[in-house]
Symmetry: C2
Subunit: 696 residues, 2 copies
């Protein structure tokens, strides 16, 4: 990949002297920043803006290891062949007219891919805006050269599947003083180089402190997650095309597949990726994480709020209340420090309203005392500070405050309001000393939350490195799935599969006669449940094939007769003890087109469909993954021993989820598994009903 | 109130020549904009900046009907007396040192109130920043006179309980080109003039198109809601102090009470108020609603998304998918119109990615065709347009687009990115032609959502005006509550109260003997439930005083004995048929310190506590209120006839909720009612268990 990021020389195929065309913008951008050889290729020119132009790639002198291509799509196949002939190793195709434009373009894209693979050439694009590297001043892109007016080097690198994000949007962020950027990779149709390879490059890149991605599709979901999971750097992702309608747009836009919202969220959470939901928000989270990638305070985000407005403190507190971070309880020592700058009548509490202290002592002294107190306070992990730029005697020197916070290892965040020009200057200067600045209270608080969520991910990773391997999983006999046929296994056969891989299932037996049914029921103890298993029948309840609360031998015999009658002698009758549990859960396995086998866990029974409290993780799951998955359910109260019930056995639940994932990984024929309900009775989970669905 | 907003002459008590003091800032601000007489009062000066100064209020010449007071708190009582003596009708006290500063200040505040009430003087404040009226150039505030550099008249008026919002924050919003403002009222401690009176004034003010409020407390919740409900103009409210910890901050900040988050949200929804959550967001929603206060399109927000970036369209679609608005299905006619500016290979669909059309035809033609198509399309209610300011040949004249949208009666919203200066200019110009501009995708979409939510509120109001009165409510006998004693009525007595006001309750009888229990059970039909009603006992289940599934006379007799033994002969035994329903709900009545009696409705049983799906409305409820309340529950599926069950009788549910509210209004002694569960069996709701709690 080095020839893409640090080429020795660049051939620009499609260079032009027409200043309205992209081929001119690329040349101008190369000439402005790139230090190596620049070789425009176009038979119609001898030179452009004083740079010698070559009639074909073959004539381009050494050294040249990268070609940037900006010619109409139909010419591209020949260009690639020329590049191969010239020994060029990387080709960045920025022109469109490929898979995104219909069947012909798709076929052409496939042909080019095939050729490049054989010739050992790497392709970036097509239909993309290439690369902007603000630190090295590499702008390998047809973005307007006016970008140079505002190019600010930063710590955040981006991988984006949208031209807007590597052009117009960057200019917005940089001219507004929001942030600088490091490397911005526009991937387009990803015919060869994809987000996985770029992400691997960027997490190793010493100058990149965090990586943000905007993707409409993920080429290889499992590899992508593996890279994220191993990344020592924070990764933030905004996935476009999460809704049914959004996904429709994604397909017409870059011929890509969009996954389900919950699967994506689950997969990202599992891999330790911070999920973003909007463009600016993604950048804001990226820069917060780049500023504080590895916080080591004792607590998980106990925030001291320092404002010059009671209202700001109250609203910030309200937001903190709804997140995973907390309002800090200030220690007596820091309360005492603050009392010294406060007027006598003013009680000290968090949120700290500094206005009266500012009036009495000036901003420098009031803010200084407050930040120093928070830095020294063992009950404080982070500081939220509200600043105004542009007057009101509220200006204070931020450098010593930033230094104090850094020394204490406590992230300091600033919510800024102020006069437009002064605010932009304050933001630039304050961010330069290491304090990220935000323009909305909520955004500042959600970025604090993201920094401490990342802290917990790193702590989990470190703990996983230290603890012994996962609880030993029984190797077990390989399962014997029905040889032929596909579709739904009946409840009994499904549970045999589950039991075979160590998932606890309810005791049950097939009864061949009414007498046998009564005998089995008596053995289990009344009441029992009897079910008719008719071939191909999925909805037993709706078909009247489930009889609950059978409380005598006579009733069992009658139920047997009724069920066999209802099935017209086609199926079999299953007898189970009736399980009454304190929690009705659901667990399952699905195959996602982007991420492969995924384990689902959620609230079961009627509530599953009504409230949709289900979470996902990508298989295989570690035991820690499974525990984390269980922890993501909203209805935690139900698992914690609600209303005097024993708490659910989370270890066993985790083992069930790990085993479900293993089923998905080891048996590609198993398309889906549904355990519904997975009852928790006396704390112990047991599969009461289940279906296993096979593919052909 | 006119003497506050349009005084004939103003006495400024506490005027000073010291430019670092608030008393100078007020004078400067008055002199800059106020056209009437300005009379600074301070015995130490003959004149300040050329304005004659008076030794006392008594000497101030006519006309003078407003005094602005900025002197230390302890002098204020005398000042008020002087004002009364001079016949001044309104006093705006901007200095602090009152209720917010402890017991002494509180007492002083009470004394002043009392005096003013008797003297017929109206008081605004204290501890506030007064009034900023950008249209009339009235700045009756100690805000820094630099505010004049950026004072932009607008349509949005604000009532704020935070100085920051009427000073620094306004300067932020105006200098950034976000918006102008109309009247901004800083209410401080609200010792006399409060949000109710100001809101009444502003909804009648012809130049105000929407009102935003930031409040930490509501002085008279019921009156406030009534004004909101009747307001012909959109009202937006950000309530500070919703969380337990936020509320603690609110109390120390302005000596105010904060209510519960869910009660506030419910009350605001019921009154048709749009709830905001952050400061800038509140202003953004205010200006969106001021732009489109009364949309009359046929649909409820079918949005056409016009972007020059596929990614922007996808992310906007994803947001729309999670809200109450929809992505529009473009009509064949508008698809055809768009096809004429699209390249041949590009399919037309919504979100509309205009980039290829811009490349082919220029921005003017591409955007023009798209907006005109959307305006003409009967399937489109609103337009989301993505613009870039500052190059890329993306600039287009917004005035004709705004005119087309206005003519079609369709709100047009703009998400803008661009170079900082150009973006600010574009925003100012675009907003001037009537298109609100936003800087984040999510914010633009949530403002579209707010505009169409308001449309539904107005439609409900118009419908309520047209339909007949509420379903006739039985007048009924007045209830006889126990004469003496307070506390919890037992289940039987509680349900007698409910039945007395027309709420359906489960059949039940008290059994005096085991034989009677068996007899009652036989009459009800087995299985029955038997409960021990021990005096003062609330948690019957936890105390083992509930016996379910009693299925024979013998079992009923045994249960009677067991229950009476458990109660040691103290209580009585209740027999009920066992109700199995398809939905377990909860309903109740609580008294909120700010809003008075409130009706609660939610998901019942175990799920009530686990999932917290409960909603609130303030009593009394109209039938329409009650239906709307039911519609706010998340678990709608459960009420719609889930899995073959009949749908819940919403009319009857609504009547139950209306009657619960009436109980709260008519019987102040009823402190709380809890119906849990309110079972829905065969579609019919019935109170199965209930407690009524009386106050002394």
């Amino acid at each position: 990949m080095e020839f893409f990021f640090n080429p020795k020389g660049i051939a620009l195929i499609g260079a032009t002297a027409n200043p309205l065309k992209g081929g001119y913008a690329i040349l101008k951008n190369l000439a402005t920043g790139f230090k190596g050889g620049i070789y425009p290729v176009n038979p119609r020119y001898d030179e452009i803006d004083g740079i010698p132009c070559y009639p074909s790639v073959a004539q381009v002198p050494d050294p040249v290891d990268l070609a940037i291509v900006f010619v109409p799509g139909r010419i591209v196949p020949q260009v690639i062949r020329d590049c191969a002939g010239r020994g060029i190793r990387g080709v960045m195709i920025e022109s469109g007219g490929f898979a995104e434009s219909g069947a012909d373009g798709k076929a052409m894209q496939a042909d080019i891919s095939e050729f490049a693979r054989k010739a050992g050439i790497r392709l970036w694009g097509p239909n993309c805006m290439g690369l902007v590297d603000a630190r090295q001043q590499h702008v390998f892109s047809f973005v307007s050269p006016t970008i140079w007016e505002s190019l600010i080097p930063g710590d955040v690198s981006l991988i984006v599947q949208s031209g807007m994000l590597s052009g117009a949007f960057l200019i917005d962020s940089m001219t507004h003083g929001t942030m600088g950027v490091n490397k911005v990779c526009s991937v387009g149709n990803k015919m060869d180089v994809d987000e996985c390879e770029l992400l691997e490059y960027l997490v190793r890149d010493p100058s990149t402190k965090s990586v943000g991605l905007y993707l409409e599709s993920v080429s290889d979901g499992r590899r992508f997650l593996e890279i994220c999971r191993k990344s020592p750097k924070p990764v933030v992702m905004l996935k476009g095309g999460k809704s049914a309608k959004g996904a429709a747009a994604a397909m017409s836009h870059t011929a890509s597949m969009a996954g389900d919202r919950k699967v994506i969220s689950g997969a990202l959470a599992q891999a330790g990726v911070t999920e973003a939901k909007d463009f600016h928000q993604m950048l804001d989270i990226c820069r917060a994480l780049a500023s504080f990638p590895d916080v080591r305070t004792p607590g998980n985000g106990r925030v001291a709020i320092l404002t010059y407005s009671g209202g700001a403190g109250i609203v910030a507190s309200d937001f903190i209340d709804g997140m995973d971070i907390d309002l800090a309880d200030l220690s007596p020592a820091s309360t005492e420090m603050l009392r010294q700058v406060f007027p006598e009548w003013m009680p000290v509490s968090n949120p700290v309203d500094l206005w009266p202290a500012v009036e009495q002592n000036g901003a420098e002294k009031a803010y200084g005392a407050a930040v120093r107190a928070a830095c020294a306070d063992p009950n404080v992990d982070a500081i939220f500070m509200h600043c105004f730029a542009g007057g009101f005697a509220l200006t204070t020197d931020m450098a010593p405050l930033a230094a104090a916070a850094e020394k204490a290892g406590k992230p300091l965040f600033c919510w800024l309001i102020g006069k437009s020009e002064e605010a932009r200057r304050f933001q630039t200067e304050t961010q330069a000393v290491g304090i990220p600045v935000f323009r909305e209270v909520y955004r500042a608080v959600e970025c604090i939350n993201a920094v401490f969520a990342r802290k917990q991910v790193l702590e989990r990773q470190r703990a996983a490195g230290k603890t012994a391997a996962d609880p030993a999983e029984p190797a077990g006999e390989p399962l014997r799935l029905p040889e032929s046929g596909d579709g739904v296994l009946d409840e009994y056969a499904s549970k045999q599969v589950l039991a075979g891989c160590g998932i606890p299932v309810v005791a049950e037996e097939i009864a061949d006669t009414a007498g046998a049914a009564a005998g089995i029921a008596a053995r289990f103890g009344f009441p029992v449940v009897m079910k008719g298993l008719a071939p191909g029948q999925v909805h037993k309840t709706e078909s009247g094939l489930v009889r609950l609360g059978i409380s005598s031998a006579t009733a069992a015999e009658a139920a047997f007769k009724a069920l066999t009658d209802a099935m017209k002698g086609e199926g079999s009758v299953l007898v189970q003890p009736q399980v009454c549990g304190e929690a009705e859960l659901i667990a399952g396995l699905v195959r996602d087109p982007q991420f492969g086998p995924c384990v689902m866990f959620g609230l079961g029974g009627v509530m599953a469909e009504v409230l949709d409290d289900v979470v996902f993780a990508v298989a295989p799951l570690t035991h820690a993954d499974a525990l984390e998955l269980i922890g993501r359910l909203k209805a935690q109260k139900l698992l914690n021993g609600f209303r005097g019930a024993p708490p659910a056995d989370r270890e066993m639940l985790a083992r069930i989820l790990v085993r479900l994932g293993r089923l998905g990984n080891d048996y590609p024929r198993i398309r889906e598994v549904d355990i519904n309900p997975l009852m928790v009775a006396g704390g112990k989970p047991v599969a009461v009903d289940a279906s296993v669905i096979l593919s052909a």
